[in-house]
Assembly symmetry: C2
Homo-oligomer: 498 residues x 2
C-alpha cells in the first residue's frame, strides 16, 4: 500500500524540454498524479525529461516542501509533525552543518563529521516514509501560482550522469535557502580566498594549511616564500574570523611547534578588519579579545582590502600582504537565487515576510533564516543572520504549520488567517565566541545597548564548550565532539593530509 | 647550533635547469654543503631553481633517505635509531594508510582518519630533529653513483605555487616506493573505476555511493537507470575485493534499508572474478566465504572484463554489466617509477635485491615492500605483495642498518659485508579476511599447501577485529577505531556526504 502511494505520487510529463525561469512563472502544466515516467533513460538526452511529484489529493497527507538544509530548514523539519505532513527537502547537501564549531575542524580540533548532521538523522521520516523525500538538488525557479517549485539535480561531476530538471507540487513551501558570503565586488576573492561556511570549506583550509606547512620545509624555498606560504590571513573580524584566528593560533602554539619544528618560526596569523573586531560584543569583551589574540601571536590589522591576487592582497593604503592561506569572512548577503525570485523583498534584498513569517503576496509560502527579513510594512527591524535566529524561526514555523495542519488547513489554499495565532517574536539570548587558549567571550545582553551579564576568560570558555556540546543535535555527534576534544587534548591534532 | 647544522645542510646550485632522468644518472654535480639558495623566488621561474641536501660530513650523523610511506617505509622509519641516523622521507603523502581496514571506511564503518597515521607520529624525529625531514615530493630519478636522489615537490594544484625540483644526497637509500594497481591494459579502467589503496580512493567511493543513493531517489530516474546507479560492481576476488563486498552488503542490510528505504530494493553488489575468490585461502574457507557472500546478497560472477565504459563494463563473453560504482581490485604490479629505474630487476619487474635486501649492483641502496623482489640468483621466490611482508622487511632492514650504524658503517661507502649478519627470512603468519555479517576467515597455514589451523565464522571475525585493533600503530587511532566500531554498532554508519 505504502509503495503504491509512493508510485502514484511520481508523476511526470515526458519529453518536455526544461522550462526556463521566466516561463516557469506562468501556469502551464497540469500535474496529473499518474505514473508516466519519462521513457527510457538511454533513449534521449537527460535534459529532455521532466518528472516530479504532482499535487496531493485531498485524502492524502499535505506536502511541505523545504528549500535548504541549514539551521532554519533543519530545525523546521525536526519540529514538523510527520503525522500531519509529508516532508520533502530540496538541498544541494544532505546534511546540516553545526556552524559554530566549523572553525575548529579546520585545524583538526574537531573532525568534519562531528559537525555534520545528516538530514535523515534530524527527521527520520525523510528516509523512511513513503511520501517524504530528500532530493539532492537546487531549486531553480518558483511558480507560486501553481504551487510548484522547479529543481535541478546536483550530480557533482559524476561522469555517468548529467543533471536533470524536475518539479514538485507543494501544499506549503518553506524557503530556507540561506545566504552567500559578501565579497563587496572585490576582484579575486571568489578565486583565491576560502570562505568558512560549509564542511568542504573547512576541508580545503585544512588541506591548504598542511600543504603549505610541508612545502615550506622542502629545499629550494626561499626565506621570503616560506614566510608567504606560512602567512595565514583572515579578512573579517566577526565571530567566525576571530574564532578561526584563535583556533589557528592554538594549532600553531600547541601542534606546529612540536610537529613542524623546522618551520615553526615562520608561521603567522594576521586578522584584517575594516572597523573593529567583534563589533556586536560589549566594549570590555572586545578589548579583552584584542589583548588575548595579540598575546597568542595574532597580528591585528586595520585595513580595507582593495584587490586579491593569487599570492597577495592589496589594501586600500597600497600595502601588499603576501599570503599562503586566505580566509574570507566578512558577513553574508542574499544569494543569486533569492535575488532572482519575484517575491516582495525586505530592506537589504532578503525575501520579505510578515510577522508570521509568511510571504504575504502569495499563498502558502513561508521564508525563514538568513534568506528572509521582515517587510518594511511590519515596522520591525531585519534580524541578524545568526544561527539562533534561524533556529528560532524554524521552531516557530513548525509549530505554526502543525497548528494549521491540525485545524485541517494543511492542503494548498486551505489555511485560514484565524489559525495563525501569535506572531514570531525574536528574543536574543546573547552571543558567545571563543578566542583560543582556553578563553572565550560570553555576552548575555539582549542588544548592544542593553544591560546584562558579559564575561570573558576560562569560565566563559567552559560555558562556551558546554553550551555548544548540549546544542549539538544528535547524540552521536555530541559523543564525537566530546571524544574529539578529549583526544585533541591528549594526543594533539591530527595532521594526516587526506 | 642545531639551526646552524640544519642551515649548512641546505645546499644548492643556483639557476641550474632541472635535470632529466637520463642525464641524472651521470656524475655531474659537486654537491658542496654550503648555503647558496637559489636567488629570490620572485625573480625567475620556479623550475630553474635546484636546491637540496648536500652530502653529510664525516663528523655528522649519516643520512638515510626513505622513498615511500607505506607499510615497508613506515615500519623501517619506526625502527631506525635516530641517534645513529638522520632520517629523510620522500613521499607524495604524509601518512601511512592502515590498508587492512581501508575497505571499512568506504561505507562509514570506520572514519578515514582512523586508518591514517601521520609519519610524524610514527617517527617523531622527522618533525623535530634538525637533520631529519619529511618532504612532500615524488622521487623522479636516482643517481646511485653519486649517492643522490632527484625529487619534485607535490603541490597538488595549489594555485600559487608550481612544483620544483630538488635533490638529496644519501648515505643509505631505502626504496620502499610500493606498487600500482594492475589493469591488464583494459581500456577505461583508470578513467572509470576506483581503486582501493589510498584514503582518497575510499573517500571517492563513499561520495559516489552516497551520491548514487540520493540521485536514484529523485523523480525522473527510470527503473533501469535506478538499477544501474545502485549497482555496485567489484572486479577482483582477492581479500580487498571480498572485504569491500562484505562491507557493502553490511551497509545495505543495516543502513540502506533504514536510511534509504525508498530505494532499498534496487541496490545490489556484484563481485566479478576470473578465477576463484580468495585463491590463497583454504578450500573449506573459500566455500564458506562464497556461501556467506551469496547469503548476504552479493552476486558472484565468473568472468573476464574486456572493456570498461562510463556506465557499463563488457565481459569477454559479450555480457553488458551496467554499473553505478565500479571498484577495481585485481592485484598490483611495478609502478612506472620502478620500471624506469636502471637497477637489476627480479622476475616480474620488481627491483631485485639479495638476501639482505640490498640492491647488489650499487652501494648503500636497499629496497623493501611491494616494489622489491628477490633476484633470480638468490634462488628464492618472489614474496607476495602483502602488508605483513613489507612490515617484516621494514623491521629487518631497520635493525640491519642500526647494526651497521653502530659498527661505524653508516656513512656512504663505509659499510662492510661482515657487518651484515643474518639474511632476511620470511615466515608467513597466515591470512585473515572479513566477509561481512560479523563473519571472517582466519587461515593460519604457512602456505597454500601447508597444514595448520584455518577457521571461519563469528569467532574468526572477533579474532580479525582484535588482531587488527592491536596492530593499528598509534594509541590515538587504536582508540578511534574502537570508538568508530562502537558508534557504528549503536548509531549506524554516518551518511553525511561531505
Amino acid at each position: 500500500m505504502a509503495l503504491f502511494r509512493k508510485l502514484i505520487q511520481l508523476s511526470s510529463t515526458a519529453r518536455q524540454s526544461s522550462s526556463s525561469l521566466s516561463s516557469s512563472l506562468k501556469p502551464k502544466l497540469s500535474m496529473t498524479p499518474s505514473l508516466v515516467l519519462a521513457g527510457s533513460f538511454w533513449g534521449f538526452s537527460t535534459t529532455s525529461r521532466q518528472a516530479g511529484l504532482g499535487p496531493t489529493k485531498s485524502d492524502e497527507k499535505p506536502r511541505v516542501v523545504v528549500l535548504g538544509s541549514g539551521w532554519a530548514g533543519c530545525r523546521f523539519m525536526k519540529g514538523i509533525d510527520t503525522n500531519l505532513y509529508d516532508v520533502v527537502c530540496v538541498s544541494p547537501r544532505n546534511h546540516m552543518v553545526f556552524t559554530p564549531l566549523l572553525a575548529s575542524t579546520c585545524v583538526g580540533t574537531l573532525e568534519f563529521r562531528s559537525v555534520a548532521e545528516p538530514i535523515g538523522r534530524i527527521q527520520p521520516a525523510i528516509s523512511s516514509e513513503p511520501g517524504s523525500y530528500f532530493f539532492l538538488a537546487n531549486c531553480t525557479a518558483l511558480d507560486p501560482h501553481n504551487h510548484v517549485v522547479h529543481c535541478q539535480t546536483v550530480t557533482d561531476g559524476a561522469d555517468s550522469l548529467d543533471p536533470w530538471d524536475f518539479k514538485i507540487s507543494y501544499d506549503k513551501l518553506v524557503i530556507a535557502a540561506g545566504s552567500q558570503p559578501l565579497t563587496f565586488g572585490i576582484k579575486g576573492v571568489t578565486e583565491h580566498a576560502v570562505f568558512l561556511r560549509e564542511v568542504y570549506h573547512a576541508q580545503e583550509i585544512r588541506r591548504k594549511l598542511l600543504l603549505n606547512l610541508m612545502l615550506s620545509d622542502v629545499p629550494g624555498v626561499t626565506e621570503e616564500e616560506k614566510r608567504r606560504l606560512l602567512h595565514c590571513v583572515v579578512v573579517g573580524g566577526g565571530p567566525t574570523g576571530v574564532e578561526f584566528s584563535g583556533e589557528l593560533s592554538d594549532f600553531i602554539i600547541k601542534d606546529v611547534h612540536q610537529r613542524y619544528a623546522h618551520v615553526k618560526n615562520y608561521i603567522h596569523v594576521t586578522l584584517i578588519e575594516a572597523n573593529e573586531i567583534l563589533s556586536s560584543f560589549d566594549d570590555r569583551l572586545r578589548k579583552y579579545a584584542t589583548k588575548q589574540l595579540v598575546k597568542s601571536g595574532v597580528r591585528l590589522v586595520h585595513g580595507i582590502v582593495k584587490d586579491v591576487q593569487p599570492e597577495k592582497i592589496i589594501l586600500n593604503d597600497g600595502t601588499n600582504v603576501p599570503y599562503g592561506l586566505l580566509v574570507w569572512s566578512t558577513g553574508v548577503g542574499p544569494s543569486g537565487f533569492v535575488n532572482n525570485l519575484e517575491l516582495p523583498k525586505a530592506p537589504g534584498g532578503r525575501i520579505g515576510v510578515d510577522e508570521w513569517l509568511r510571504v504575504p503576496t502569495v499563498q502558502d509560502v513561508f521564508s525563514i533564516g538568513d534568506c528572509s527579513g521582515f517587510l518594511e510594512s511590519t515596522g520591525r527591524p531585519t534580524l541578524p543572520a545568526l544561527a539562533q535566529v534561524a533556529e528560532r524561526q524554524g521552531k516557530y514555523l513548525a509549530s505554526q504549520l502543525n497548528k494549521i495542519g491540525k485545524a485541517g488547513g494543511g492542503h494548498a489554499n486551505a489555511a485560514k488567517d484565524n489559525e495563525l495565532g501569535e506572531p514570531f517574536v525574536y528574543k536574543h539570548l546573547g552571543s558567545m565566541a571563543t578566542i583560543g587558549s582556553f578563553k572565550a567571550l560570553v555576552d548575555l545582553r539582549q542588544s548592544k545597548e542593553g544591560k546584562g551579564l558579559s564575561m570573558a576568560g576560562f569560565v566563559s570558555w567552559f560555558i562556551w564548550r558546554s553550551a555548544y556540546l548540549t546544542r549539538v543535535l544528535s547524540w552521536r555527534n555530541r559523543f564525537y565532539v566530546a571524544i574529539n576534544w578529549a583526544t585533541t587534548f591528549v594526543f594533539g591534532r591530527d595532521i594526516s593530509r587526506i
